[in-house]
Amino acid sequence: MQKRRVNVSLWVGAVLVMLLIVLGIIGPYIAPYDLEHQEKVRNVEVNGKTVIISPPLSPSSEHWLGTDKWGYDLLTKLLHGAPYTVFVTMLAAVARLLIGTIIGLYIGIQDKPQKWWLSIENAWGYMPLFLPVYFLLVGLNRNSELAIGTLVLLFIGLVALLGAPSVASSIRQKTEQIKETQYVLAAVSLGAGREQIIFRHVLPQLKEQLVLIAVTEMISIMALMGLLGMFDLFVGGTYVTYDPVIYHSVTNEWAGLLGSYRGFVYGNNAWIFMIPLAAFIIAIGSFSLLAKGLRDRFQETYQRTPFI
């Protein structure tokens, strides 16, 4: 008997994602400073000499992750941004999954292949998603009159809607496969209607697939958010100061911080960029681990090994 191996990625991924969710809930409350707290230039006496201390302050016991160029504590910013990063990602993925599943199920259950939908799926598959999202939001997002909540909801809605065709595509293909099975045929001959087949026969077969799609969509949405951040479009609003032109993230969402601080990569204070980068990589990495774990778990045990 082969001993069943422990699925390390699944466990580590699940624990990390749980931690992220907890961080998203309690983050703003455990932040060490207020969001407005700013370190100013000051004189400090060290060993009898006066030393001028000016931000950015490197990581120390007072500021665990240091401060940015304007003296704001980075850990505080990250903790305040955590809810947006984690929950926007999850909500958008779930919304995308919902829309995509409904479309995919109803298109897939049709007797004939729906040509109009196939052409949409086909054309949209080649479009880099960040382009339409960027173009639609760029006019609204900068120094916006809208509330943060409205902007976030708008973002979630747009990302869900524009990303739905790819989800619908995989659900449709699976539905078309299941539609051909004997038990669906039996159900049809017993007089089952369309809804009956979808909800009693097709959907239960898709359960594992749906969980996996949700997690992989979270990864792609997080990457999308990071990408939009590179082009100075931050989730929940971009606050632009002119002369010099600097883009700030209103919500301190991690991808936004990453985009906002990307100029520091070339300077001597590279940690200002590396810390949001590390947070972002950890977040996306935990979702990737979870996805890998789930995929390993769902993979069919029957696998042929190649002869060559």
């Binding site: 479009m127 880099p128 639609l136 006019g139 009159e145 042929r304």
Partner: protein, 287 residues
């Protein structure tokens, strides 16, 4: 005829995507949706094309003609795209198919799979950081971000651009390799005592090819998506400059021209890669 129809369809898709900033706007704290505003801009654009010019765009404070700049920009973008897709196809055929049976190649693939979990733009930043660190330690400059420097610095953006499509295509091909390698006709061929290269070329490659061609389009789509990031972050002057100008205002004409140019370039790249594959088959497979 159907090609022309597809091209026109593409043009309208581009117009709709590029018209995004005009479609949604905020007035008195309310979001308005006005797709009709795009029509005026499109009519103006078509008028200009009808007059034989492509219009002008602003680069900084200079008003420049799109028609003058589009060719050199397109050449830069084309070089980047074509070589990256070529690298992706060659590398994935070599490591995913012909050398797959060696253990070190499989370890190399595992490494690439690990890399693929990190989004491409993060990889670009990590390699910039690595290059800076390398310069600090050894005083050897391996990257230059100045757009005015000579074109011999193209290799860094090229490498960055090639990573994404290579990872994708190699995954597809090694997956298919695993499936086809388990087929009975491979077993038969082995039992007959045919050479391993013969089997790889005549049995495996021929069966992998349809999947390679089907995913070539997706590979090019990934390359295009990454082209935006690479050109933007590494200061390469290419077609995406028309769409995302740094600190510039959004310009509809330039964006439509840039996006159309990129689409036409990707079709060209696709055809060229098909031609190269055809040549390869004539030389190696059907001697």
């Amino acid at each position: 005829m159907s090609y022309i129809r597809q091209l026109i369809g593409m043009f309208f898709l581009v117009v709709i995507v590029c018209g995004g900033p005009y479609m949604l706007y905020v007035e008195k704290e309310e979001v308005h949706f006005a797709p009709e505003r795009v029509v005026t801009y499109t009519v103006y654009l078509l008028q200009q094309i009808g007059e034989g010019s492509l219009g002008t765009y602003y680069s900084g404070n200079d008003e420049r003609s799109i028609a003058e700049d589009i060719v050199p920009f397109a050449i830069n973008s084309f070089e980047l795209m074509f070589y990256s897709v070529l690298i992706a196809v060659l590398a994935s055929l070599l490591f995913g198919l012909f050398l797959q049976r060696f253990a070190f190649v499989r370890y190399f693939q595992k490494l690439l799979n690990l890399l693929s979990t990190i989004p491409d733009f993060v990889l670009i930043f990590l390699s910039i950081l690595a290059a800076i660190q390398f310069y600090k330690w050894t005083n050897i400059r391996i990257i230059t971000l100045s757009p005015t420097s000579d074109s011999s610095n193209m290799w860094f953006p090229l490498t960055m651009l090639a990573i994404g499509p290579t990872i994708f295509l190699m995954k597809v091909i090694s997956l298919k390799y695993g499936q086809i390698g388990g087929e009975d006709y491979i077993k038969t061929a082995l039992a007959k005592g045919m050479g391993i290269w013969h089997i790889l070329v005549h049995h495996v490659y021929k069966n992998v090819k349809p999947f390679l061609l089907a995913d070539l389009k997706k590979t090019i789509a990934i390359t295009v998506a990454n082209l935006f990031i690479v050109e933007y972050l590494l200061n390469v002057v290419g077609l995406t400059r028309f769409i995302f100008s740094k600190n510039g205002i959004y310009q509809f004409n330039a964006a439509v021209m840039g996006l159309m140019g990129i689409i036409l370039l990707s079709i060209l790249v696709y055809l060229l890669i098909r031609a190269i594959l055809y040549l390869f088959e004539q030389i190696a497979v059907y001697k």
